[in-house]
């Protein structure tokens, strides 16, 4: 510092920006919420439960169950084929129906194609209500209304898919190129002609990709819908679990894992090719 003589002026370093006070507020709020959620008094008692589990060690019964889980009972492999087919069928039908309906809903949920502020607001609010209810909860309600079986699972998947696909697709429609839209408007196209000719061709690859993604989600969901009585492999899983046949539970879990993993790989590969 003292070496710099009066003639040369050292380039000034820019001052370091001070972190915004909002950052401390945010960290404080997150810490407080976490403490409230985890504590024994106001929350779920996460820490004390973990401490107790590790202090007590693994009980004998759990160790026994783990032994069973680690040796799946392959002898019932044949009996799981039919429930799996049912699950797959439910996923396929759910995707086809759900995605067809989602296409219509998506056009109603985008400002570009809705044709009117009221219709837009109406579609969007119905969509947020549908999206706020999880798939299994829909299944619970439908099982209660229609009875146990694949129909309840199918209806749940259809509603759930409308929520997912319509949301993703309407965001895509919002971002389409407006050139074809102007052409359609200039030629005097009505709402439907406009959507079909100017918008649909632009979003078709996206729509197919979203539908494949929906199928992947459906395979995962339909595997568990049976837990509430909505048919498929989940019902078998529940049956084995209620009888504490953990070696069979484990087999079904392994099968679900392989099944879902392969569907994911297939869907991801197809989607990559679709948009290349």
């Amino acid at each position: 510092m003292s070496a710099t003589d009066a003639g040369t002026v050292a380039p000034q370093r820019p001052t370091k920006p001070r972190p915004s006070p909002m950052r401390y507020v945010a960290v404080g709020v997150v810490a407080l919420l976490t403490w409230l959620a985890a504590s024994d008094l106001t929350g779920i008692g996460l820490v004390s439960r973990l401490q107790r589990t590790f202090a007590d060690g693994i009980p004998d019964r759990t160790a026994e169950i783990f032994d069973q889980i680690l040796s799946p009972d392959w002898s019932i492999l044949g009996a799981t084929v039919d429930p799996f087919l049912e699950t797959l069928a439910m996923a396929v039908l759910g995707t086809l129906l759900g995605c067809s309906l989602a296409l219509l809903v998506a056009f109603g949920a985008s400002a570009i194609t809705a044709g009117g502020r009221k219709r837009l607001a109406g579609t969007r609010s119905i969509m947020s209500v549908i999206r706020s209810v999880p798939d299994v909860m829909w299944a619970l309600v439908f099982v209660s209304a229609v009875g146990t079986g694949t129909i309840s699972g199918l209806l749940a998947l259809v509603l759930f898919n409308i929520g997912v696909v319509a949301k993703l697709l309407s965001e895509t429609i919002d971002a389409v190129d407006t050139g074809p839209l102007e052409a359609a408007d200039a030629a005097g196209a009505g709402i439907i002609a406009r959507a079909r000719t100017a918008v649909f061709p632009q979003v078709l690859p996206n729509y197919l990709a979203f539908s494949l993604y929906a199928f992947e989600i459906n395979v995962r969901a339909s595997a568990v819908l049976g837990l509430v009585g909505a048919g498929g492999i989940g019902q078998l899983l529940l049956f084995f679990r209620n009888r504490f046949d953990y070696d069979r539970v484990s087999l079904v879990v392994v099968e679900i894992f392989v099944f879902v993993f392969l569907t994911e790989l297939l869907s991801i590969t197809l989607r990559r090719r679709l948009t290349e």
Partner: protein
């Protein structure tokens, strides 16, 4: 181009391009049709049940919502609060665990083998549905919200890790090169080259996952893992429809409220304060596009998630 030397042959009428054959589309239709018929047969749907379904669903809707049981409101809120707490802690666990994994999975800051291996691990984690995880975890931690929280935490690592690695892959290389130029270590590259750029989007993904996990945690009670799901199952089973309807409404309203708050924070994180001002009609219309949903849609389309 040769067009300069040899002019195109003159024709009296402008030629229309050939219409596309549409073979792909027709083949697609046939495949979908065959799939639908096969699936219809395999599902074993009873038609009479299907026909009666709409009337039955309307009847149930009446039973659920026309006679609300206000004395069940407190219990429903308590159950939902537990669900929200599970979702919050589960998301936090997943956020902490997925951040290092997302750095390992990003192709631009990780080795080729490492990123591919990490991606497959993330895919694998995602392939276990939460409810299946609960059935396994319950053997260690017993029935209750802690089991549900851990299941949510583990399942969310898969999606969060992949979406976050997308955010890392879209960063500008400049700061990374600057850290390399001054001889930064791996940790310094991540801390100063990657995280300052990727963190806003990653935090927004965390919040988005929190919104999704609230939905997931609301049903974990079905298999005894805490939250409002147990109330829903039991009230529906014992046909206490007024109470079930109350629980249903509480789930929807609380979920929508948290969505609205979390969505605002997400937008603020991604777009900064400037966008909050309503400059003119156009600026407001832009605000309506949800950047995180758009990012998710892009990742889905490109086969990244």
């Amino acid at each position: 181009m040769s067009a300069v030397t040899s002019a195109p042959r003159r024709t009296d009428k402008p030629q229309r391009p050939d219409a596309p054959s549409g073979f792909g589309r027709k083949a697609g239709f046939v495949i979908v049709l065959v799939l639908a018929v096969l699936a219809w047969n395999a599902a074993g749907l009873q038609l009479d049940k299907l026909v009666r379904a709409p009337a039955r669903i309307l009847r149930l809707a009446e039973l659920l919502f026309l006679w609300p049981q206000w004395d069940a409101f407190g219990i429903a809120m308590q159950g939902m609060l537990e669900s929200v707490q599970m979702a919050w802690l589960g998301t936090l666990i997943a956020a902490v665990l997925s951040l290092p994994l997302s750095l390992l999975a990003a192709r631009n800051v990780s080795g080729r083998f490492g990123s591919e291996a990490t991606r497959q691990v993330l895919n694998g984690i995602r392939a276990f549905p939460e409810l299946v995880l609960v059935i396994l975890i319950v053997t260690v931690f017993g029935l209750g919200p802690v089991t549900g929280t851990i299941a949510l935490g583990i399942h969310s690592i898969g999606t969060l890790g992949k979406l976050s690695s997308e955010a890392v892959e879209s960063i500008d290389r400049g700061p990374l090169e600057a850290v390399d130029a001054v001889g930064g270590t791996w940790a310094q590259r991540m801390r100063w080259g990657v995280l300052p750029q990727a963190m806003p989007e990653i935090v927004a993904f965390w919040l988005y996952r929190f919104e999704i996990n609230i939905r997931a945690s609301a049903v974990l009670g079905v298999v005894g893992a805490g939250g409002i799901g147990a109330q829903l199952t039991e009230t529906l089973r014992y046909k206490e429809f007024g109470r079930a309807g109350m629980a249903f409404v509480v789930v929807v309203v609380v979920t929508l409220m948290i969505d609205a708050i979390s969505g605002r924070i997400r937008r603020r994180i991604i777009s900064g304060a400037a966008d909050d001002r309503d400059v003119d009609g156009e600026a407001k219309a832009q605000l309506e596009v949800d950047p995180i949903i758009a990012a998710e849609a892009g990742a889905v389309r490109d086969g990244e998630v």
